[in-house]
Each structure stands twice: as C-alpha cells, then as structure tokens.
Amino acid sequence: MIEFLQQLGIKTRTSFTKLGRGTFFLLQTMSGVLSVLPRPRLLLNQMHSIGVLSFLIITISGLFVGMVLGLQGYYTLSDFGAEESLGVMVAASLVRELGPVVSALLFAGRAGSALTAEIGLMKATEQLSGMEMMAVDPIKRIISPRFLAGFLSMPLLAALFSAVGIIGGQLVGSGLLGVDEGAYWSQMQAKLDFQDDIINGAIKSIVFGFVASWIALFEGYDAIPTSEGVSRATTRTVVNSAFSILGLDFILTTLMFGDH
C-alpha cells in the first residue's frame, strides 16, 4: 500500500516536472523564433519537409472525408426531403470540426512523429551536444525553425483539407446523387458565416498546429537517447498530440459555438 502511494507520488511529480520542462522548452523555442527570421533558408527547408510532404496525405484524406460526408449526409437528409441542405452539412462539419481536427491528427501522425524521431536521433547520436560544443544553440538552429514551420503549415493544411473536402462532397452530392449544384453552394453560402465559421475554424487549426508542433519537438528533445527511448518518444508524440487535439477541440468548440 505504502509502495503504491509512493509510486503514485513519483508518477505525479515526474509528470509535473515534465510539464514544467515542456513549458520552459516552449518559451526557449519561442524566443528562438526571432533568430530564424534572418535565416529564411532554415525555415524553408522545414516548410518543405513538414508542409509540402504532408500535402498529399492531407488533400487525399480531405477528398475522401468530404465524399463520405456527402454520401452519408445524403442518406440522412433525404429522409426529410432536405437533400438541398447537403452543402451546409458538409461545409459546416468540415470547416468547424473535421477540417482542423482530422488534419491536425494526420499532421501529428505524418509530420509530428517524423520530427520527434529526427530530433530524438540527433540527441541519441549527440549531434545536439556537438552543436553546443561549437557554440551553436541547438534550440535556435534546430528546434525553432521546425516549430515555426509547423505553426505556419498547419492552418494552410487545414484550409486545404476543408476546401478539398467540400469539393469532394459536391462531387458525390451533385455528381452521383443528383443534388442540385446551385442549391449545394447557395445554401452553404447563406448559412456559413465568415467570422463565426471560417475564422473560428482557422483559429482552431492555428492552436492545433502550435500544440502538435510543441509536443512533437519536446518529446524528441526530451527523449531518452537510446533507440528504445526514441521509439517510445515517437509513440508518446502521436498519443499525446491526439489527446491534446481532441481535448482542446472540445474546449474550443464550447467557447466558439456553444450558443448556437
């Protein structure tokens, strides 16, 4: 019993210590972001490996999610003779929820895990300490450009996901199922508000990008420098990112759309 309590205490304390280290790491990273600006090449390389390489998985998933939404929405809405509202349903669910959330989950799986593995391996092969020996700050040189790239790429990826999904819904809805194309777009435009829906969706994706990049980089930086440690850190990145994204999504949704 005593041992159990001791274990519990140790667990709690280590997780708080980790949170503290993570916050400190985040502050360091953010203060390092300014020193990325004079070296845009570093940022560009990371935009390529984080953003451009996630482009395909995001657009293809977006297309299929939109198509499934169109198909599934049609079956439910046609019971009430409300197929014309298909556009509203597809667009609202994509812009408000699925766009930011699913693209953030894919982003964590595609880019986040790669970041963790890369940085964990850099740590395991002592490249990070090597940099410090040469008086190069690894946070400024390695971490901050990646953080900034993730933070910038995520809203773009989420917007692409939603846009492609809405087109996918339209392809299935009016191409396959015979919903009027004009009604699909006009009902959508009448119901969706720029400020309430599009801007709030974009805010969500910015928050998710921030959190997912932070978790991925911190887990890599904090990994135990062995091959097992790196593999565990990669797993933790995906699990923790998914939890944080879904939890934050709930909080943000209640704040943004709680009253309607």
Binding site: G51, V52, V164, Q189, A190, D193
Partner: protein, 155 residues
C-alpha cells in the same frame, strides 16, 4: 543548387495552394462575398410574437433575400418582441408603411421575416420603425385552436 530551387518552388506552391484554399473558404463557402454589415441599414419591427425567429434569419421581400435579422430582444414594458432588421443599403426605397410578417419556409423550414411594400411615398430610413406587423403562426397554437373548434362542432 538545383535541389534547393525545386524545393523553393514546392514550398511556394504549397503556400499558394493553402492561401487559395483559405480564399475559397472565404469567398465560395461563406457569405463574405454576398452580404456585409457595412453597407446596410437597420430598421426595427415590433411583433406580438416572433416565434422561432433567430439572429441571422433572412429578411426577404417578394421572395428575394434583402437582409437579415441582426438582433431580437423582449420589451418588458409592452411585452412585445423587438426585432432589428439590417437591410442591404441598395434596397433603400422601402415605403414607410411596409408590412413585416414572420413566415415559415415550407411546413417545417426555418422562419424568416417577409416585408411587403405599402403605397406610401416616404421611404424607411436607418433607425426607422415598421408599424404594421403580423406575428408568427405558432403551429401548436393553431393546432390547439383547430382541435378545440372541431370538438365544439361535435357537441
């Protein structure tokens, strides 16, 4: 060097695609292009009962959407519902004896405000009031009256 320039192009394409996506959402998906707050004017209508009318419900005249409901509140003195309508400023020639009624689109559709122009020469201006209004038809109330009536007739 060749490698870096391809990378630059790819990143450029990615950012451009993302921005196109955002613009698509703003212009094609949402109502940003069709109706903005700036070029509209506000008029008020008092209803005995505004039913299921909500903020952002459409305001239409002769079946064409010309504005939306911008605010609804209850007047505790007259026990009426005060509905603010923001009308697109290109439709600034509504006569001041316009009638406002709360209608339902279809049997179970959403409720909207319908404006019917009167014959007056004067136009409604920003902050103007619509004097003649017709309340929403509450389905439960109408059903109740109908059932009551048919029970009366049977006696």
């Amino acid at each position: 060097m060749q490698h870096t320039s391809t990378q630059d192009t790819l990143v450029g394409l990615f950012v451009a695609a993302g921005i196109v996506g955002l613009f698509f959402l703003a212009l094609q998906v949402s109502n940003l292009s069709s109706f903005t707050e700036q070029n509209s004017y506000t008029i008020t209508a008092r209803f005995e009962n505004s039913g299921g009318l909500k903020v952002k419900s459409p305001v239409s005249a002769a079946g064409v959407k010309i504005g939306k409901v911008s605010a609804i509140h209850f007047d505790p003195k007259t026990y009426e519902s005060v509905v603010q309508l923001s009308i697109d400023s290109q439709y600034n020639t509504l006569p001041d004896d316009t009638t406002a009624s709360v209608f339902t689109a279809g049997l179970l559709g959403e409720q909207y405000v319908n404006l019917e122009a009167g014959g007056s020469e004067e136009h409604l201006k920003d902050g103007g009031k619509i004097e003649i209004t017709q309340s929403a038809i509450i389905l439960e109330k109408a059903l109740g009256q109908f059932l009551f009536k048919s029970a009366e007739e049977k006696k």
